[in-house]
Subunit: 311 residues, 2 copies
């Protein structure tokens, strides 16, 4: 039945006929117990809602189901304890492998985890010691591209609304940002930088802070789309016309970016493909589908829309 052993055509048919007649359905649980494979992969994300994780789950589920594996989900809410509990929960469920999108847990914890029995893939996080287990975006390049897009339009005074500095992706994006400034001979002005929270409120608070700083600027680069949206709202409420008086660029290219007005120019984060790739990593490494190609780091790219104007 499982087409592994060598069976004659005749017996095969006999077996299949019998299956049909009896309405036989293999018991996946008994199979799991006997084979020591649950055929499930556990997925831990920060939040189940939100534009980002949905796309990721979507990519993972499609890839997994194509191979008859199932996805078990859990939320970590960006809190260390909850994330650890979630991981524990999934392991106790006997998942054959885990896909983790965790933020609060430490690098060391993850490095230890990888040494364990169950295979692990990390999404949106790069830890050199376990580089092969990481599927990540080149955030530095993304930060660079965003700044370049602004600088190429002639802006010389550009503000930056960053993500939380402790988050790796936020600091990488800022690093790329600075690199681009240097390349264009624009000196980086710390007074024109605000540390946001990756939420809408960080964007509005950020723009307010920047405006109050009395430093002139003609463009603001936001480390993600939600903050860009917040900044846009704040600008509108204060009668600053975008992009005429102020250019704005975001990061992530979440669906929202096309809905707001003006349509937001941003950096594309191919999260769905990365989810798919994480699933593929597992298919290859855990389920031995050796023919699959796996790519560990993805490149962001510029999506040009309407929120930037030449200066």
């Amino acid at each position: 039945m499982n087409k592994n052993a060598k069976v004659s055509e005749k017996t095969l048919k006999k077996v299949q006929d019998a299956m049909d007649q009896l309405g036989y359905r293999p018991n996946a649980i008994a199979q799991s117990l006997a084979s020591n494979r649950s055929n499930s992969v556990g997925i831990l994300v920060s939040e189940l809602h939100g534009p980002f994780y949905g796309s990721m789950l979507s990519g993972i589920e499609a890839e997994l189901r194509g191979s008859q594996k199932h996805a078990i989900i859990a939320a970590g809410h960006s809190e260390e304890e909850t994330e650890k509990e979630g991981i524990e929960f999934l392991i106790s469920r006997r998942c054959d492998a885990l896909i983790l999108h965790v933020e609060a847990v430490s690098d060391e914890y993850l490095v230890d985890l990888v040494k364990n029995e169950v295979p692990i893939v990390l999404i949106n996080r790069f830890i050199p010691a376990i580089a092969d287990n990481c599927i990540s975006l080149n955030n530095e390049l993304g930060g660079y591209l965003a700044a370049k897009a602004i600088l190429e339009q002639g802006h010389k005074e550009v503000a930056y609304i960053s993500g939380p500095n402790w988050k790796m992706d936020a600091s990488d994006r800022l690093k790329g940002h600075k690199k681009a400034l240097q390349e264009f001979n624009v000196t980086y002005n710390p007074k024109l930088t605000y540390e946001g929270d990756y939420q809408e409120v960080g964007g509005s608070d950020g723009l307010e802070y920047l405006l109050n700083s009395k430093q002139p600027f003609t463009a603001v680069i936001c480390a993600n789309d939600e903050m860009a949206s917040g900044a846009m709202t704040f600008a509108r409420e204060h009668r600053i016309s975008i992009p005429k008086e102020l250019s704005i660029i975001g990061f992530d290219n979440i669906i929202l970016a096309q809905y707001i007005y003006p349509k937001l120019t941003t950096i594309d984060y191919p999260i769905k493909q990365m989810g798919q790739m994480a699933a593929r990593w597992i298919l290859k490494n855990t389920f031995k589908q050796t023919d699959l190609e796996v790519k560990n780091v993805f490149e962001p790219k510029l999506i040009t829309r309407d929120s930037i104007l030449a200066h």
Copy 2:
């Protein structure tokens, strides 16, 4: 260990000490095989991405995990075949129960399904024959509330952009809409109705169609937020000021509604709570947590923001 049998304190302690010392972890799969319970519930949604399903999953996961059950996910993509396959898949995975958000599959199919072995809850769908298995929103009331909000502001000529007529929720919303018109002595004008697709494009196409119809109107009611957003974009591109020249109201209260400008007045769809309730239904009926209260139909309510003005 499972604290069901009567065991003396002493033995209990002895057992737990032994567990700690040996680092014993029960094997969930063996438990499942022996007890004929997988402790999993399968969840089928149309799409994993999108603002709607994420909230729903979020509600379900939280409720389930509190009881040590896990959620297995699958996507149905609003296509009959895929939905059926998804259900098959989840059943073959031996889920103890299923939560379904399906659109393409017929009522009869679902009624038959409910007669089967595995317990089923339907979200966002009401089928009288299996009313107890349905967790749904009073869409008619929602349609009524939306229209009422507009009519109370003095609008007499109101256009309507509907969802696909074959979808139950769309026709219910329209029914409520008509009821409100009647109550306010406004005659329903079929020429001011457009059948959209619940997507952004349906909203822009819809507004274009309505404008071309040469029938005057001062407000447009959209059967969901995405279409409202599309209509708003179209209006802006054609220099129609919202809400000054045209009032718009949406439905669903997805996160987007707060992000767009002007902030969208809409009808709240408590999808997260409904997801939670679906999970609770299962906890109660399948896992015998009899103390839980279950509510089958939810009431929508008006969320007032900035897209409506008195006429």
